[in-house]
């Protein structure tokens, strides 16, 4: 294992870049993009492919994809933006939360094919010039994660909560953040991080 040469992340990204360049768009990529249970038995007709353009974290992308591909799969599998996580894949956990036109949404339930022209922000897009977003800093300062799996989604929801400035109490922050589940139970710390980000007085 060439651990001195590459970090594990760099090794995966290298593999991703290589496969994206060398493969002909079609069967192999389509296989990695399918989600859900086994395909319907019977003759498989050619899956429809579409070309879509969107802006992600300020960068313009144009991709050719299977029409079934979710935005989540485009981010992670095609573009290597693995900060957004796949949790339940059915809209129940919030781990896949991204901003679409500045609104928090669940990327596992968005067809990339329906996102033409949209402005998308992922966790990777929050830092500016190497500096963490204030909400990211608050999450670190308030120990608002344990395993970190839900954290990207939590932060994306928290950024929106702070921006909207509607929540005025702990109860309202909790409600605003209720679309993001944390199996480690870091809720009190997440609440503290969001409260601090909004400069609300401690409860």
């Amino acid at each position: 294992m060439p651990t001195d040469l590459f970090s594990r992340r760099e090794l995966i990204e290298l593999g991703l870049a290589t496969s994206a360049v060398s493969l002909v768009p079609g069967a192999a990529l389509a296989a990695s993009e399918e989600s859900g249970p086994a395909a319907t038995p019977g003759p498989q007709h050619t899956s429809d492919r579409v070309v879509r353009s969107f802006t992600i974290n300020g960068t313009a992308y144009k991709v050719e994809i299977d029409v079934r591909t979710t935005l989540l799969d485009v981010l992670r599998e095609r573009l290597g933006l693995t900060g957004t996580k796949l949790g339940c894949d059915r809209g129940e956990c919030g781990a896949c939360t991204v901003h679409i036109d500045d609104q928090p949404m669940l990327s596992c339930l968005v067809l990339a094919a329906m996102s033409e022209g949209r402005k998308i922000t992922t966790i990777e897009g929050l830092a500016r010039n190497g500096s963490l977003h204030p909400v990211q800093t608050a999450f670190i300062e308030h120990d608002a994660f344990q395993c970190g799996f839900c954290t990207s989604g939590q932060i994306m929801s928290a950024v929106a909560c702070v921006r909207e400035r509607r929540a005025r109490s702990d109860a309202e922050i909790r409600e605003r953040m209720s679309g993001n589940l944390c199996r480690c139970g870091a809720y009190p710390q997440i609440l503290a991080a969001v409260r601090a980000s909004m400069s609300l007085e401690p409860a």
Binding site: G36, T46, D48, V67, R68, D89, V110, E175, G179
Partner: protein, 329 residues
């Protein structure tokens, strides 16, 4: 997920031409449909994306009503100034639904069109469910029916409709505007839903070739107040065990007029018209009298094996919703 053609509708007319086909589905917010497609519950050959149709997104305040385009998002309606001020029951119903992310994605039309289903509908293992496969039977009837209906139960389906805002709209006598290539029709929301029967387990009277264009809610009198009370085991991000939408017009301490609809108790929102009539003249502070007025509605209540608690829970939820709507603490 079976592959499909994706067609972006350029207009309502364009969408109507496209949907006159059993294997073609409309897609709005996609928060319900994509789950069914991922799980193989439905396999459309074509999806018609109606989101490009701008007029369907409008929220319009009219002189005697408010009009929601079918694609108006739940979050946009909930945070609309007029809705917040005059239609508290709609705002509260919407904000108690789903999650903030889902509310940013889901449309009001799609919310009304959610399938009435219970957990057997999307079980990983194929368990008998008439909604999933017509004629397969109903597992809930003989097994876990804890969340099932207490009104309008029949052997086809005992699930409850998941929408909160449908209950609020039922209490407010909203109407739904439908359009097809043959023309338009307006249907009261309370007539939009149906109980399953031998011919069909469909939840609504919407025809294959019809599209919901808007939902219209009459403006309330300035002194009419409303509330939505949702009772569930988790404090957020969960369907109602029982819910109640109440709208009251008071004369001093007396209920002059009341509208009451329940959720979580039937295949569709359940309006308490008899109870409403009996509430006229009842003192808001007299809980016993309120209970007496609505008790008659529960004569037709039928529990399953594990949901008997819902009868008393629904009674108390209704009383509390009426009290809250009237401004009681």
């Amino acid at each position: 997920m079976r592959s499909f053609q994706l067609h972006r509708a350029s207009s309502i007319e364009d969408a109507l031409h496209a949907i006159n086909d059993r294997d073609t589905f409309l897609i709005a917010g996609g928060t319900e449909l994509l789950n069914w497609m991922k799980e193989g519950i439905v396999s459309p050959r074509r999806l018609v994306d109606i989101n490009p149709i701008a007029e369907l997104h409008e929220i319009r305040v009219e002189s005697a009503a408010i009009r929601f385009g079918a694609l108006a998002r739940m979050s946009d309606i909930a945070h609309h100034d007029t809705v917040s001020r005059d239609y508290a029951v709609i705002r509260e119903a919407l904000l108690s639904s789903a999650s903030p992310q889902l509310r940013n994605m889901a449309s009001i039309g799609g919310n009304l069109m959610q399938r009435t289903r219970c957990p057997y509908f999307r079980a990983d293992v194929d368990l008998a469910c008439n909604k999933r496969a017509a004629g397969a039977g109903c597992s809930a009837l003989t097994s876990d029916d804890r969340v099932s209906a207490i009104f309008g139960r029949n052997e086809h389906c005992v699930a409850t409709h998941p929408s909160d805002v449908a209950v609020a709209l039922a209490a407010l006598d909203a109407t739904i505007e439908l359009r097809s290539l043959r023309g338009s029709r307006t249907v009261p929301l309370n007539d939009f839903y149906r109980l399953p029967d031998r011919s069909s387990v469909s939840e609504t009277i919407l025809r294959q070739d019809e599209l919901i264009t808007s939902i219209v809610v009459p403006a309330p009198a300035a002194t009419r107040t409303s509330r939505y009370l949702k009772i569930r085991e988790r404090s957020s991000y969960e369907f109602a065990m029982v819910s109640a939408a109440a709208s009251v017009q008071l004369r001093g301490e007396i209920i002059e007029d009341a509208r009451v609809a329940l959720g979580g108790v039937a295949h569709m929102p359940w309006r308490f018209r008899t109870g409403e009539a009996a509430l006229k003249g009842v003192k808001l502070a007299d809980a016993a009298a309120i209970r007496h007025a609505i008790a008659g509605e529960f004569v037709s209540a039928r529990a399953g094996h594990h949901n008997g608690f819902k009868v008393e829970l629904a009674l108390r939820t209704t009383i509390r919703a009426i009290e809250l709507a009237g401004g009681a603490a």
